[in-house]
Amino acid sequence: MTEQRAWQNPPRHVQVDVAALAGAVERMAGDLALAEEPSGFAVALEAGAPRD
């Protein structure tokens, strides 16, 4: 259980790393279209494939 508490109360450096990652993504995501969904990734791959 000691380990579990440790995960639940992150040390300062973990909080900093999480904040950096989340902040970077949030800044870029600010102008995403409302219709944008994660599944758009697979759609983009299929649409970008060569037509042969």
């Binding site: 993504v25 995501a29 697979a42 649409a47 970008g48």
Partner: protein
């Protein structure tokens, strides 16, 4: 015999110039001689491999050839679930990973006649690019002892380079096929996301994981890909797009193909030798008729941030149990990387997924609207000394990990195919790497370019002096 490529061996077995058992014994003899230094294997199944080789030889004598890999000895990263063999995923727990589903890629290789020699070493939980492992030993570089093998498919890279197996499966979440391929001087293909089923292979990040071949030639990688690619009902993310006859298109001319050398990011902080190797490859491809231009690519930092967030959230979710209950059994760097994922919010995870969709669409439109492939270095420097890059403190190790894999990770966010091929050697005899990235599901073009480069170079005949 072990100097032959997979394709050459398969042809020799088909012509009954050599038997599957002879090939298997040759590999096992190499393992006995070299693996005490390389530490490429976690589990060696010599008896099983011999029994299968005898059965395959008997079938061939009776006129039955299972497929293009009949009798060829392979080995696979120890995160592929193969019935009858334990799967450690690089942990100290021998059967950490269990699955109801056999690894589809391995099953397809078996159906094509391949033999499995055993399970190959890897970075613990596939989390790390250097090939070190506190439980199963650090995989050594076949070209120079004490240098990193690359990771996380470290055993796959070393085993194939040193002739312990004729090919191997690796997995790639941030470069784990391409980095060991570059460090060990072999070929590694990260196929398009969805091209090869991930079923039966331990996930590190289901959004970013790719399974692919690691071999000694581009033709070998092509052959293995033809066998393992294609839709799999056990993997909902596998594509239904036809694979096509890739080997038949390998020798087509590359004249007229448009290639880009990135203006930004991919040559920043790269050693002169690593940069020079890629530029030399570009000149060679140009001399064969390709058109090479420089191109500014969409911001790779954004792709790396998205990959980082997705990978940490998903890997912490997948490995929550071992991280929470047995964290003391994990290496410091692995534990540190897992810990971050527990604190990423659902909001941020979903935003990263949405952002990935847009970034991928934009990259494909902007880049592959202008060129057919992008050339980059695979590793920013020659394989470094292992003791230096794995030296504590843990924060420094994690930073070095990030720097070493910074050229490969953007392509996991994008999901496009990337072929890592050798690009010559440093003055000290260490391998350098070239990566060729192409349009989604256009493995045919990156393989064709890699094959053309391979045929033009003189490095293919070089073997490590292990």
């Amino acid at each position: 015999m072990t100097d032959q490529t997979l394709t050459e061996l398969a042809a020799a077995i088909a012509a009954r110039k050599v038997s599957a058992l002879e090939a298997t014994e040759a590999c096992l003899a190499r393992v006995a001689k070299l693996d005490p230094r390389l530490r490429a294997f976690i589990t060696l199944d010599g008896d099983g491999a011999r029994a299968r080789a005898r059965a395959l030889d008997a079938e061939l004598a009776a006129g039955r050839r299972r497929g293009p890999l009949h009798g060829v000895p392979l080995a696979h990263k120890d995160l592929c679930h193969i019935p009858g063999l334990p799967t450690s995923c690089g942990t100290r727990t021998p059967e950490y990973f269990t699955s109801e589903v056999e690894c589809t890629a391995v099953a397809r290789l078996h159906a094509a006649g391949a033999i499995t020699l055993g399970k190959l070493n890897m970075t613990e939980l596939a989390l790390g690019p250097f090939g070190d492992n506190p439980h199963h030993g650090d995989v050594d570089n076949p070209w120079k002892t004490g240098h990193v093998s690359g990771g996380s498919s470290s055993g796959s890279g070393a085993a194939v380079a040193a002739g312990l197996a004729f090919g191997a499966l690796g997995s790639d979440t941030g470069g784990s096929i391409r980095l060991p391929a570059a460090c060990c001087g072999i070929v590694g293909l990260k196929p398009t996301y969805g091209r090869v089923s991930r079923a039966g292979a331990m996930a590190l990040s289901w959004s970013l994981d790719h399974l692919g071949p690691m071999t000694r030639s581009v033709r070998d990688a092509t052959l293995m890909l033809e066998v393992i690619a294609g839709h799999d009902p056990h993997d909902a993310t596998s594509s239904r797009r036809p694979v096509g006859a890739l080997s038949a298109r390998l020798d087509a001319p590359i004249r007229g193909l448009r290639l880009a050398l990135p203006e930004n990011y991919y040559f920043e902080g790269v050693t002169a030798e690593a940069r020079g190797a890629v530029e030399a490859a570009a000149r060679t491809l140009e001399s064969l008729g390709a058109r090479v231009e420089t191109l500014r690519l969409p911001d790779p930092a954004a792709l790396i941030d998205v990959a980082g967030l997705l990978a940490r959230a998903e890997s912490s979710t997948i490995h929550a149990r071992i991280a929470r209950e047995r964290a003391h059994e994990l290496g410091d760097a692995v534990r540190a990387r897992l810990e971050i994922g527990f604190h990423i919010s659902a909001h941020d995870y979903l935003q990263a997924g949405r952002l990935r969709a847009r970034l991928t669409r934009e990259f494909i439109d902007e880049v592959f609207g202008q060129v057919d492939a992008v050339l980059t270095p695979t590793i920013p420097e020659p394989p470094p000394v292992r003791a230096e890059v794995t030296a504590p403190p843990v924060d420094d190790i994690v930073r070095r990990m990030g720097r070493f894999s910074r050229l490969t990770r953007p392509f996991n966010t994008l999901g496009v195919p990337v072929l890592a091929v050798p690009a010559g050697f440093t003055r000290d005899g260490l391998p350098l790497g070239l990566s060729i990235a192409g349009r989604p599901f256009d493995e045919a073009t990156v393989l064709r370019l890699g094959h053309a480069w391979e045929q033009a170079g003189d490095w293919r005949a070089r073997r490590p002096l292990v």
